[in-house]
Symmetry: C2
Subunit: 292 residues, 2 copies
């Protein structure tokens, strides 16, 4: 038991020191590390001045319904940009990504879904991304963590060197075409109740990366239908102190859950990032704030 604890502490320390190193990298350098499978896990704290993105890659016949789903539900699904059909080297908004990227390799790792079920996790999806696929980049709350830190409101999971805790909820998205009966996924960061107004204010500027929280407090957890905060559905294990409350933000894992919720209505493979393991974008957190 002592040895296991010791091992875990050493692992966390090593993850933290690695992340301190990654924090200073340029996005293209960090993407290269992921492309070469030298970094394959969560990206909280990487390229700390830059924004990050979630990924969902769908067969083109679902693209219109998905874009409309994002427009109707911009808090859990803030759509940044999309690729042309079958082309993982281009996006339709160069503010987010410039040249020299490959969306099939530049995330740390990927999930592959078939008929709404997770089939496989890989660090490279060059074999799966077909000429029929369109990739969508969705804003990520990692993008506002740097500004929270700058204001002395360091998210707990960064202190712990873990991924942010992520929960499924019962809060429903407004439907769009094939996408019905969809529910929000949220990320959670604990804060003292007296800090919540400041935390809301800071994150509200980040309209393209989920903006301000969707709810907060233990009553908020109940409203969101989260049965047990100690058991996140994805991400790292939470630590909430007695003088703190949980604060919940929309999360870019939502599109993955949405796909799973449609089951075999979505034919053909769907590709996504894995929870917490994002793409480093070429836009700074400061600049993404200016995009409404």
């Amino acid at each position: 038991m002592v040895r296991k604890c010791d091992y875990m502490i050493r692992k966390q320390m090593s993850q933290k020191s690695k992340m301190a190193e990654y924090a200073q990298l340029e996005p293209h350098q960090f993407r290269k590390l992921c492309r070469d499978a030298k970094h394959t896990s969560h990206t909280s704290g990487a390229c700390e001045k830059y924004a990050q993105a979630n990924l969902i890659v769908l067969p083109k016949e679902y693209a219109n319904d998905f874009v409309n789903l994002c427009l109707r539900n911009p808090v859990p699904c803030p759509l940044l940009c999309q690729t042309p059909v079958g082309d993982p080297f281009k996006v339709d908004d160069s503010r987010y990504l410039q040249k020299g990227f490959d969306l099939r390799t530049d995330f740390p790792s990927y999930n592959i879904y078939e008929n709404g079920e997770l089939r496989l996790t890989k660090t490279d999806v060059r074999d799966e991304w077909s000429s029929n696929h369109i990739g969508f980049l969705i804003g990520c709350s990692h993008s506002f963590e740097h500004e929270l830190c700058e204001n002395g409101l360091v998210p707990r999971h960064l202190t712990l060197g873990r991924g942010v805790p992520v929960y499924k909820t019962t809060k429903r998205l407004d439907p769009s075409g094939v996408f019905i009966n969809c529910t929000y996924v949220v990320s959670m960061r604990p804060y003292k109740p007296e800090d919540v107004p400041k935390v809301r204010k800071i994150t509200s500027s980040f309209k393209k990366t989920h903006g301000e929280p969707v709810d907060w407090g233990y009553d908020g957890a109940e409203r969101l239908g989260i049965p047990d905060l100690k058991r996140p559905d994805f991400g790292g294990q939470p630590v909430i102190h007695d003088n703190e409350v949980p604060v919940f933000w929309g999360c870019g894992v939502t599109p993955q859950l949405v796909v799973m919720q449609q089951k075999d209505k979505i034919r053909g493979p769907v590709i996504s990032h894995t929870t917490g393991a994002m793409l480093a974008l070429d836009i700074t957190s400061e600049d993404i704030k200016r995009i409404g």
Copy 2:
């Protein structure tokens, strides 16, 4: 009892024939009728080829939070345009309204709220609209009713010559600044279950006027927390046939409820349209469909 029925039928017939006349008017002609207090009730079917708008007028200190609330919740609150501070004769997007309008008089009637409570209903708010107020126009589902009619899917309340039935729900908006604990208001039109996909498809194009339904079916009513469909909170009395289900759309009365839900957190008078009694816009329903 016979006489009351007779009176109601005659009243409905007269409303229906009036609306048939109003259906053919140009928006500026219909606005003039409202300005002169010659039409003071609901506008379902008026200027049938043109879109309509809801109104909320707030003291300027709440404008940023309100705009952000709309951006975060575009289904119940599709923001079309806004006025400069204190100027009811201009809006910031001339696609919706051209010259020659006065937002203080051109709606059939207005509600005036103080500390979240309805104080007064008037046909003209020239005395209440101060130099500190900003007016916001919100898309209205009346705008897609013409296209439903063209496709043989005539909304029941038009057949009956009534306003559309409108309900409060327990579905929560994502909060923005001062606006927290807000819930959706929805309008309801009954359809046969087999027509729901077509109804969803037709209305999904109208992204600036609530788009496709937020939910449908008696299970949908339950999910939305509507306790009794026979008792709408606003609008006309519903008639749902045995072979039909209720279909619910986001409703532009939501901002009024949002203001009421904030109670005395919103200081100073707030002005709105009255439920179902909208502004006739200069943009056609066909053209508003093209605005995403």
